[in-house]
């Protein structure tokens, strides 16, 4: 029986329990008019419904896992299965095909061997369907009756149901921890494997990056895994070039929007900035690769360079900077808004002009928040992938010339992992080590930044 049907069954049984329990609770009332139930009838109903639905759901999930195996076993026991090929995968495929036909998932068999198995499959499926159904009903009945018998006028059903609800809420918030753990574990495990092949010193301090995915994984060459050029490229593009664009423009935008723009103008310009923030990075990447990079190359020629790169760090950095503008602007906006009005009034009352007030009072006062915002922006920029994948290079250069090609950590992660990740080669695993470094760095930046912002906001409250 398909899980969907069992699911519906569970819900149906739950509903039945719900209705029965509610009727029961009402009957207490009718039996003794004026009696005050400890909980509303609907809570009695939910109590019983949960007691039915949860065990049934547990059983159903268990059953969907084990019943295919049971079915297959009983089919294999059938005479028609005796001449199946011995090779596991092919046999599995034939069985699957037969099962698909038997369950109606496929119209007909491709493989004649499978045809003979369709009927045994049908029989087995039907048999186990009945078994599953019977067990489901039995469970529902037992738990349902047990819960039902506990209903009394003074039964505190609400507290119990609410406890279940709280459990669900708690479980939902634990997913966040699980995710973080999942990230850390998946990164750490593979990173440790990588460092088993390549020394962390080579990785962190080497200056030559050129993993060879075809090299023999048994004899990894540590000298090919020096990640310094990647770190440099990442910092150069994300933390230097992009920030040179994003910080002044973002800050000035925030200042203009909060201090100068009329409400009408702001009503138009702010959403425009928000849209800029909502443009997917792949579009920026396309824009960088198609429009900005060639323009920068032409610029390189006009500067007399003999051979400017068409995937210069500058192109990726500039576009990334534009992408970050709205982010910096909104962070700066928040920080400036957090400076008490009294500061602004104090300065204006001294006869300062608006820009003097902004430059000498508001911005210095908001500085911790702005710096934290910039840190978040940097963490965003160095983790950004698509722009650099599309517009930066894969060549690991250690250079300070923005017109040269450079690569970044994220570009290399994508390069090493697109396609088949075979988890036993240092080239593939290096992506996880890079990811781990990236994770740690962005985590550090975020952590500090969030702390600063929080402490600093509290200071003015």
């Amino acid at each position: 029986m398909s899980p969907a049907i069992l699911l519906l069954l569970a819900l149906g049984l739950g509903l039945a329990g719900w209705l029965a329990a509610r009727a029961r609770a009402w009957s207490f009332r009718r039996a003794k008019p004026g009696i005050k139930l400890a909980a509303l009838p609907s809570y009695h109903a939910w109590y019983v419904a949960l007691w039915i639905a949860v065990p049934v759901l547990l059983f159903v999930s268990l059953w969907t896992v084990i019943s295919p195996g049971l079915i297959t076993q009983s089919v294999l026991a059938d005479a028609a299965a005796s001449n199946l090929p011995s090779f596991g995968f092919q046999r599995q495929m034939i069985l699957n095909e037969a099962r698909n036909v038997a369950t109606g998932a496929a119209p007909a068999v491709f493989n004649p061997d499978a045809a003979a198995l369709v009927d045994p499959y049908r029989a087995a499926i039907a048999r186990y369907q009945w078994i599953g159904l019977a067990v489901t009903l039995a469970i529902a009945f037992m738990t349902g009756v047990w819960a039902f018998l506990r209903l009394k006028p003074d039964f505190t059903a609400r507290t119990r149901v609410e406890r279940a609800v709280m459990g669900i809420l708690l479980a939902a918030s634990l997913i966040a921890i699980l995710t973080t753990l999942g990230i850390v574990v998946s990164l750490v495990v593979e990173t440790i494997r990588f460092f088993g092949m390549v020394s962390p010193l080579d990785f962190l301090f080497g200056t030559h990056w050129g993993p060879d995915p075809m090299a023999n994984p048994e004899v990894p060459d540590g000298s090919r895994y020096g990640a310094i050029p990647l770190f440099w490229g990442t910092i150069f593009i994300g933390a230097i070039i992009a920030m040179i664009v994003a910080i002044p423009l973002g800050l000035m935008s925030a200042i203009y929007l909060t201090q100068y723009a009329t409400p009408r103008l702001r009503a138009w310009l702010k959403p425009a900035l928000e849209i800029l923030a909502g443009v997917p990075t792949v579009v920026y990447g396309y824009f960088a690769a198609l429009t900005v990079a060639p323009a920068i190359r032409d610029l390189g020629f006009s500067l007399g360079m003999s051979n400017p790169s068409s995937e210069s760090a500058l192109a990726a950095g500039l576009v990334m900077g534009v992408m970050i503008i709205p982010f910096v602007s909104s962070m700066a906006d928040d920080s400036i808004a957090a400076v008490p009005q009294a500061m602004r009034d104090g300065s204006l009352a001294m006869g300062a002009t608006t820009n003097e007030t902004i430059r000498r009072v508001l911005v210095p006062a908001a500085l911790p928040g702005i710096v934290a915002g910039v840190m978040l922006a940097i963490s965003r920029a160095i983790g950004e992938t698509m722009i650099v994948v599309m517009a930066a290079s894969t060549a690991a250069n250690l250079s300070a010339n923005p017109l040269e090609a450079m690569t970044t950590v994220t570009v290399q992660i994508v390069a090493m992992l697109t396609g088949e990740g075979s988890f036993d080669h240092p080239a593939t695993l290096s992506a996880f080590a890079l990811g781990f470094v990236l994770f740690l760095v962005t985590l550090g930046l975020n952590f500090i930044a969030l702390r600063v912002v929080k402490r600093y906001r509290e200071a003015y409250d």
Binding site: P263, P340, A342, M343, R344, D345, G346, S347, L348, A349, M350, G351, A352, T353, E356, R360, V361, P364, A365
Partner: protein
Amino acid sequence: MVTVVHPNLEDTDAKMQARDVSVYYGDKKAIDEVSIDIPTKYVTAFIGPSGCGKSTFLRTLNRMNDTIPSARVEGLIELDGADIYRSGMDVVQLRARVGMVFQKPNPFPKSIYENIAYGPRIHGLAEGKDELDAIVEKSLQRAGLWQEVKDRLQDSGTALSGGQQQRLCIARAIAVDPEVILMDEPCSALDPIATAKIEELIDELNGSYAIVIVTHSMQQAARVSQRTAFFHLGKMVEYGRTSDIFTTPLEKRTQDYITGRYG
């Protein structure tokens, strides 16, 4: 005119003159046709129950309510005979001439020195470091703060106590050499000892500047001011010598307020 002006109020030089001033926040009238002369040589106190418009009116005097988009001023306000709301009026200059001290001390999050030096610097009042140092010292001295802070001018202004902060704000206002100083409940965030210091300071400054002080404490008004205006529901109800207002109020509302019947 709705205001009762005490008859035995002698004529003095008026530093500022308000004539039929009304202030609106959007559609709401917060000040209703107030006319008053701010004398050059005295301390004028604005008193009245909360929300009666004291702060609002005070802020019209140096156009600080320009910063509130919804605020709108009608009527005439003159400083030395020149309309401060005329088009072409230079607000920056106006505010340099009409200083302001706020209810909650609001030193800039900079050093004490920088707090004072800020005004002279933006207005270019000092040439060179020495002059600036001199201005800072003089202002702090006038504000009675010099002795307390002279050894720690580089400490942050926010590190001072509340009373010291407020005196710092007064020193800051003095530093740009204003002609009028407006104070909006300058002591309401302070303890009695700090309050006493500020009152002392106001006494000292009296005569050098035209001073307007908003206060919710009648005792304070009685102590520091020579003129008192009583506001009620956006109107100026009564105006006169402080001693007259407190001893022989002419209006029932004033009397009720002074005797604590409402507020």
